[in-house]
Amino acid sequence: MRTRFQQGLDDLRTRLLRMGGLAEQAVDRACQAYIDRDLARCHMVLEGESLINSAEREIDELAFDLLAMQQPMAVDLRFILAVTKINSDLERVGDQAVNIAERVMDLVELPKADLPVDIARMAAAVSAMVRRSLESFIEGKAELAQAVLEMDNVVDRMRDEAFITLVKTMNERPDVTRQALDALLIARNLERVADHATNISEDVIFWVRGADVRHNVSPEPPLHQAITDTH
């Protein structure tokens, strides 16, 4: 094995895990800030964004160098491609955490409203998805990633329920419209974080199995079919 190349791959893995940790922490902090109406945590999320952004750039640069200098093949090529896509998803997870923090900052300015929606439960489900998608990457286990894909439907349902409930609240209690709207936006942000966790899991499956599981695409035709098609 090419030592320098292996070191590059190890470096890429380590940096992505570090970035995953930052993104996961940002979501957890933003959700906790919502639960506790904690402005300090909101500021921590906002300040942490630049760390995530610079980590994204560094990972992209390293991946680009490895592609250009080492011309990776097969599992190594799939790994680097997966890393670049996961990198992009993690950066967007960070953006969603910032969006949540900004909504919380708005909510803290408003009178506390008792809304009929369990954002904390949704946040726990979404955090679990992010954590497990990163675990599937660390362990290189497609089965773990597959389990995350199945959780996405649960979060989608939570988002739909939150939407229906909060729109009804806005109609019935105009005095809490702004709080309900903030909560609705947070539910949407969380659902998007779940989508990114789903993407990360799909990329892990692509890396480990070489299978594209996005959008239920049919597999490639077998070789004998390919050769027959050439005649």
Binding site: R2, P72, M73, A74, V75, L223, T230
Partner: protein, 252 residues
């Protein structure tokens, strides 16, 4: 037009040493097929079995079935007749040094008793055009010797010489390993164009080259064909761990 090649249970020996073990492979017509693998894995032996050059080595023999279109390569067909349909290009360009560029290209025709001068002129021009060398040598065809050309030009001259006899199959045994990247690029571009007219089998150590020029790739290891598939499959998601270990540089 090129023809498909069907190889079934091909075995080859050098004396008592078996170099190929039970190779079966369908090489599709009018496509480039790459043969890759570490040194000594049997790649060159395999292509030399396709045109029966293997048997020219003392003590070397082969068994099994090779069909080139309707022609049975190992059963009832003279080796000369087979080789007339198969062009071969080697690792090191080997133009005939004392012959002019023109005579180099026409050598195969003359050897086959072809005497029509006007027709020979046409074939030489067409072959040099096909090998993308015509524009560079058209004014010095009869003045310059083949050996006076650069390495890349010499290799294209050898390709023109192979094409002049209008083969159906072109075998290339590491055709770019002695060339610089620009000459390599020209040969690769040539392979891309030639496969419209010929079937090409290329042995290469350069996996990027295999992935650039070939639609199908076979991976050989210790005389066995480990995996044969579409090139993009071999280089992105090979089925066999040994293929993956080789192409990712984990051994070999």
């Amino acid at each position: 037009m090129g023809v498909g090649i069907k190889v079934e249970h091909l075995n080859a020996w050098f004396g008592k040493t078996q170099a190929l073990h039970d190779i079966s492979m369908d090489v599709p017509a009018n496509h480039a097929t790459a043969v890759i693998g570490p040194s000594g894995c049997g790649k060159s032996t395999f292509v030399r079995c396709l045109n029966r050059m293997h048997e020219t080595i003392p003590d070397a023999r082969a068994s099994g079935k090779v069909k080139m279109g309707d022609l049975d390569v190992y059963n009832g067909t003279a080796a000369v007749q087979i080789r007339r349909r198969i062009g071969m290009v080697f690792q090191k360009p080997n133009p005939f040094p004392t012959m002019s560029i023109y005579d180099n290209v026409a050598a195969g025709l003359k050897l086959n008793g072809f005497t029509d001068r006007r027709r020979t002129d046409e074939i030489v021009e067409r072959s040099l055009k096909l090998s993308a060398l015509w524009d560079e040598v058209k004014d010095t065809l009869r003045k310059k010797s083949g050996a006076s050309l650069s390495g890349g030009q010499q290799q294209r001259l050898c390709i023109a010489r192979a094409l002049a006899v209008q083969p159906q199959l072109l075998l290339m045994d590491e055709p770019c390993s002695a060339l610089d990247p620009i000459s390599t690029g020209k040969i690769e571009e040539l392979i891309f164009q030639l496969k419209e007219k010929f079937t090409i089998v290329i042995v290469t150590h350069n996996m990027q080259q295999a992935s650039r020029v070939a639609e199908f790739t076979g991976f050989f290891l210790l005389g066995r064909l480990i995996e044969f598939d579409k090139t993009e499959k071999i280089f992105t998601t090979p089925s066999d761990k040994r293929t993956e270990d080789y192409i990712t540089g984990r051994f070999g």
